[in-house]
Symmetry: C2
Subunit: 200 residues, 2 copies
């Protein structure tokens, strides 16, 4: 689809230092191709996530995923805030991520969310290499997700991720959301986030 190729070009990171294509070409769409995601692809992405580093190798990441049309999908969908419900119907997979809050020892794991992020970094890389896009969401009701899936104490819903192949037709999105699909990705300058030997 020519229009989609144009969007990909707009979304590609413009960098002074050359970075890996799997990073520069990644973005977080709110539209997806109508191609289904299979159990095999899900397995591969989860396998990738699994090999991330974590504090004391605690692996504090848990995942509940569901395919469009299933009861599990509806359960996750119903936890999303209204804004996210406006576009997530296009995603062939929704996934709830959950963190294990404490170490096996019982002590609080202050790095659980960080380590989930590392695992989702691996998941993202693997997805991107397959042409699959993710959109992470903080906008959902964590308490509702806990209820709906009977998630025990000691675990905490962290994000919902929409997953699907890159593609789709932005013009089918609500107008305000459609617009964001054409916008350039913006980031803070490197010198605002990093410095040598001192706090900036």
């Amino acid at each position: 689809m020519e229009i989609f190729t144009d969007i990909q070009e707009v979304k590609t990171a413009n960098t002074k230092s050359p970075i890996h294509d799997l990073i520069s070409e990644r973005w977080s769409p709110r539209m997806f191709s109508s191609d289904a995601i299979g159990r095999e692809e899900m397995r591969t992405m989860l396998e990738a996530a699994r090999w991330a580093a974590s504090s004391y190798n605690e692996q504090p990441w848990r995942f509940i995923y569901a395919f469009k049309g299933s009861r599990g999908y509806e359960k996750i969908y119903n936890c999303l805030v209204e804004f996210n419900q406006k576009w997530t119907r296009n995603a062939p997979v929704l996934m709830l991520t959950v963190v294990k809050e404490n170490f096996e020892s019982g002590k609080k794991n202050a790095h659980a969310m960080h380590d989930l992020g590392l695992a989702m970094g691996n998941f993202t890389l693997q997805a991107q290499s397959l042409g699959i896009a993710l959109h992470h969401m903080a906008g959902f009701d964590g308490d509702k997700a806990r209820d709906v899936f009977d998630i025990p104490e000691g675990f905490r819903p962290a994000t919902v991720v929409a997953i699907g192949y890159y593609g789709g037709d932005a013009s089918e999105l609500p107008d305000d959301i459609e617009k964001s699909e054409y916008e350039r990705r913006e980031r803070l300058p490197i010198d605002d986030i990093a410095s040598e030997g001192k706090w900036n």
Copy 2:
């Protein structure tokens, strides 16, 4: 170095689903090649980190990095717990990661650590593609790091990362640490961390 090649082989993830080499071959050494890391490579890895997704595009990640031999390096080194001081001297770069705790609006950002993890996921991928290894550490004194670098309220030291080219000689490490360099990486089975449509 033949021995090092053998270690790389032991450390490579053994997976049923094929995953990207940049993930399967990554591990967290406590030894590094004596090759220096240049400012150019640091810039490239930070550039990669910068393009991660984040909640409301808040980009709550900050980095202080320092090269071996510099005053900044000693400052970071001195914040590490004793165990980590035993091996980090081999790393040509130490980096303190910091999260911005609140959104611009002032509201607490519950996903700051998660998003730092995503950024470090990108940093890791870029590093791995350059033959550079990372070792994340939670074992350091965050209050001391805050003091030493005058990190303001609203920001919180999160991790220290040792950075260097893969390589080095494990036999130069203290015995207990040397041993861990030869051990296989272990992870929970996929079915213990992920399930379809329900909490496992």
